[in-house]
């Protein structure tokens, strides 16, 4: 499926995201897949700002800005209210950053999906608390510099695998997607929209400001994350049925790391170690999926 771009989108120009913002691109693709019958919940994250200062809104769908930890809980409530009014054709979507998903919003998210509440939770992942000044989150990858993992104290813990955590709840649908693969991303949004129950999409969204990358390489770097197997594109249905959507070219991870200022301190040995970690994760995923796409 090829993305069809309408002349009139559900998002206005003039938002206040940084130049080259991956999360802005991600929102465009999300709305492309969802359509206007959507209610959006945005807990504290970059997008709380990007959507515009009061009284502006950059989105043409209703948005409820909420507290950091409440993304899933508010969506649950809106869904219940819409059900009372009989508005079954409206999709409730929580749009949260990695902080609001992996860390601060995790208990609400885990609770809601355990009850299989009927909403779509989308995490646009820029791998740190970018809006507040690049503090590390549990999504920040191994090896990264942030303002709270500076200098030699670069992050030495692995990135939390959020899709696996959600899949462990046996929800109907969990998937990864990337702003560099719009066709795949939009197809997943449409698929998720057609499913009832808790759905989760994890979108890799590059951040030129926090990653210390040139803004023009924003998409290119997101694409390399997929092609190096650092961020594979796959789906998990019912918590058990794995499908890998794209066969990567298998670039070496150092080609991805070298382009980013946040990894500039890493030595060859560090990169070799990261390469091993990535291969280990990839093989684990292959075992779960059973087959590779012949693409």
């Amino acid at each position: 499926m090829k993305v069809e771009l309408p002349d009139h989108e559900l998002m206005h120009s003039g938002h206040v995201g940084c130049p080259g913002c991956g999360a802005a691109v991600a929102m465009r693709f999300l709305l492309n897949g969802l359509g206007e019958k959507t209610v959006m919940v945005i807990p504290a994250c970059c997008w709380s700002i990007i959507a515009g200062p009061y009284p502006q809104s950059t989105l043409k769908v209703p948005v409820l800005h909420t507290a950091f930890e409440t993304g899933a809980a508010v969506a649950t409530g809106i869904r219940a209210a819409l059900d009372v009014r009989g508005e079954r054709d409206v999709t409730v979507v929580t749009w949260a950053g990695d902080g609001g998903t992996f860390d601060i919003g995790f208990q609400a998210l885990s609770g809601a999906v355990e009850r299989n509440e009927d909403f779509l939770y989308v995490c646009y992942d820029n791998e740190a608390y970018m809006n507040t000044g690049i503090q590390r989150s549990s999504s920040t990858p191994y090896g990264a510099w942030t303002t709270t993992t500076p200098g030699r104290d670069w992050k030495k813990m692995r990135k939390k695998n959020i899709v696996e955590a959600l899949a462990a709840h046996r929800i109907p649908y969990a998937a990864t997607a990337s702003i560099a693969y719009p066709d795949d991303l939009v197809a997943k949004v449409k698929k998720a929209r057609s499913i009832r129950g808790s759905r989760f999409i994890h979108i890799f969204s590059s951040c030129p400001t926090g990653w210390r990358i040139p803004s023009e390489l924003s998409i290119k770097i997101a694409r390399m994350a997929v092609q190096t197997n650092i961020f594979p594109l796959y789906e998990v249905e019912g918590g058990v049925r794995y499908t890998i959507n794209l066969k990567p070219k298998g670039y070496l991870v150092k080609e991805y790391f070298r382009l980013q200022g946040r990894f500039s301190h890493l030595t060859e040995e560090d990169l070799d170690q990261i390469q091993e970690m990535v291969e280990e994760d990839w093989e684990l995923l292959l075992r779960k999926a059973g087959t590779m796409p012949s693409l």
């Binding site: 993305v3 771009l5 002349d7 989108e9 998002m11 206005h12 120009s13 003039g14 938002h15 206040v16 995201g17 130049p19 080259g20 913002c21 991956g22 802005a24 691109v25 465009r28 959507a51 515009g52 009061y54 009284p55 502006q56 809104s57 950059t58 948005v63 702003i179 719009p182 030129p208 040139p214 803004s215 023009e216 390489l217 924003s218 998409i219 290119k220 694409r223």
Partner: protein
């Protein structure tokens, strides 16, 4: 207490609600880099001596716009059917796709387009200027003369082409065997040329003093007479009657319909395309040809593909040998050869060779063909020395003497490399030069021609000369490193079907077979379209600002600088470098 059936009163919602959009934020003011659409030059179009807009041709084929693609060729070259077959396609050697997988089979697509136009009997719609008062005479209806007449006619001039033989085409008609160029292909393209208004007068041999006759009636004369006579082999015995057969005459006799039966071993002396054609023709007529060349295979001026096919068909190549003596023998002729060795390889030139002392071989042959180059049939066809009263251009020479009309020497006598497409380039250059000369004077010729170069040149574009859309192209030639290959997948180059070796050697049928429209579109679809926008929409798709909009113009896209923050994603994600990012000018 409220009555039992009164409606429930909800408290008012006390949360703030947005009531306006972000469109009031003119985020374009953040920008310090400015993206813009900036179409550039593809390397293939620079390498094409005729300056064909190849990237665009392939794009139109991909879109199924075959007639438009064919017309795009005709803007720069009247002979797509001929060049799709016999051109050595220098365009493919520089194709950026070469660094990715394999170059585009440009000549196969070109041939397909010409065949398609013939099959549907298409008539091209080409820009034609209003009539001009001057008349131009063209001497010689070979590729350069016909091209000159074609372009001059399109520029509004009335042209008469004088051809000595009874049919037009020159080397294309008489010197290239039909297995490479079937007669109908040439005829079709000559008919189209005549439909443009070119008048070809056959059987008009120009004699010494013809300029006197032409003066007064014609404002200029284009001389594209080519090599009407073969250069003879001069070794002891070569002058004996029947010892040497001129290769070009042999090819001509076949094209005239005489097909002599040959037998036994024949020697073909030379290393150019004519020598290879003679050897392959002799093979088809029953002989065992041996090509004798004084340097190595890699030094042969013949196109490598032709040499390879000749060897595949059974022609034997004896390299590093030169004839020194010919004498009659009972079974034909005894040819004495001197073996040679290479002594050095000057940059960009064929190897230098010297005789190996005592290295002498003898061979008995039935016949000896000589194809070691040609010279003008009459001395007065040869261009004068470059000096006062002449202007040397890339592929032709402008000369004027006394009060006579200006003369343009073109074709094989003045081109950089002797090939059909260089002859076309020479005719085009001559036509442009004369037009400028008539309209603006001699001083303007060089600067105006320089402004019509494709990229850095030397190829010239008639579309640019006529101020077409191609004028807007940036002269920068797109490099492979500037292509975003993330947006392409590997795909093998088309292997066009052709006659099997066994089918080839028994006749003069054309070797490559026709391909389907589907295959042509597939092959053209592999093209990167370097530097050209094919409306792929990547710029719009990945814009974080929704600042790129569709519009109904030839460009199809518009950047809204009110909101564009200058992140540069569109420029990087453009697969083919049709955009540029520049520093914003201080306001």
């Amino acid at each position: 207490m409220s009555p039992p059936h009164a409606p429930t009163e909800y408290p008012p919602i006390l949360i703030p609600r947005s009531f306006t959009t972000t469109e009031g934020n003119k985020t374009g003011s953040w920008r310090f880099l400015r993206p813009r659409y900036d179409e550039k030059t593809a390397p293939c179009s620079v390498a094409c001596p005729a300056g064909e807009d190849i990237g665009r041709i392939e794009m139109l084929v991909t879109q199924g716009l075959f007639k438009e693609a064919w017309e795009t060729i005709l803007l720069e070259n009247p002979f797509p059917g001929v060049c799709g077959r016999v051109c050595h396609h220098p365009c493919e050697a520089v194709c950026n796709r070469h660094d990715f997988d394999e170059p585009i089979a440009i000549h196969v697509v070109e041939r397909f387009l010409a065949d398609m136009a013939t099959r549907y009997d298409l008539r091209p719609k080409l820009p034609k200027l209003p009539p001009r008062p001057e008349k131009v005479a063209v001497v010689g209806a070979g590729p350069s003369g016909l091209a000159a007449a074609y372009f001059l006619t399109r520029l509004g001039y009335r042209c008469h082409v004088f051809e000595a033989r009874n049919e037009p085409g020159g080397i294309l008609r008489w010197g290239i065997p039909t297995y490479r160029l079937p007669e109908a292909v040439l005829k079709n393209e000559v008919v189209l040329l005549e439909a443009q208004g070119v008048e070809i007068l056959c059987g008009k041999r120009m004699e010494m003093g013809f300029l006197e006759a032409l003066r007064g009636e014609y404002a200029a004369v284009f001389l594209g007479c080519g090599h009407g006579r073969a250069r003879p082999l001069v070794v002891p015995g070569s002058q004996l009657p029947g010892a040497c057969t001129d290769g070009l005459q042999f090819l001509e006799s076949i094209r005239l319909g005489f097909s002599p039966q040959l037998k036994g071993t024949v020697a073909v002396i030379g290393g150019g395309n004519t020598a290879v054609d003679v050897a392959r023709s002799a093979l088809r007529l029953g002989a065992r040809p041996i090509l004798i060349y004084r340097r190595r295979r890699g030094d042969m001026p013949a196109f490598p593909e032709e040499v390879e096919m000749a060897l595949e068909e059974g022609v034997v190549l004896h390299e590093l040998r030169t004839p020194v003596h010919i004498e009659p023998s009972p079974s034909g002729w005894s040819l004495t050869l001197q073996t040679m060795e290479p002594v050095g390889q000057p940059e960009g030139l064929p190897a230098e060779v010297r005789p190996i002392p005592g290295g002498v071989e003898r061979m008995a042959v039935e016949k000896i063909f000589v194809a070691i180059g040609g010279e003008p049939a009459d001395a007065f066809f040869a261009p004068p020395e470059v000096g006062a009263g002449t202007l040397k251009l890339g592929n032709c020479l402008l000369a004027w003497a006394g009060d006579g009309p200006p003369l343009v020497y073109g074709g094989d006598l003045t081109v950089e490399i002797q090939s059909v497409v260089h002859a076309v380039a020479s005719g085009k250059e001559g036509a442009m030069a004369l037009d400028v000369l008539f309209r603006e004077g001699l001083e303007a010729v060089e600067p105006i021609l320089a402004s019509c170069r494709v990229g850095p040149g030397p190829a010239l574009s008639m579309e640019v000369f006529l101020k077409g859309l191609r004028c807007r192209r940036n002269a920068h030639v797109v490099k492979y490193s500037e292509i975003n290959t993330d947006h392409f997948t590997f795909a093998p180059r088309i292997a066009p079907p052709r006659l099997l070796r066994e089918e080839r050697i028994h006749g003069f049928a054309e070797i490559p077979l026709k391909i389907s429209a589907n295959l042509a579109m597939q092959e053209a679809g592999r093209c990167f379209h370097c530097g050209l926008c094919n409306q792929c929409d990547n710029c719009r798709l990945f814009c974080p600002e929704i600042a790129i909009h569709r519009e109904e113009t030839p460009r199809g896209r518009r950047i809204d600088y009110d909101y564009c923050k200058g992140c540069g994603i569109c420029v990087v994600e453009c697969p083919r470098n049709a955009m540029s990012l520049e520093e914003e000018e201080a306001s």
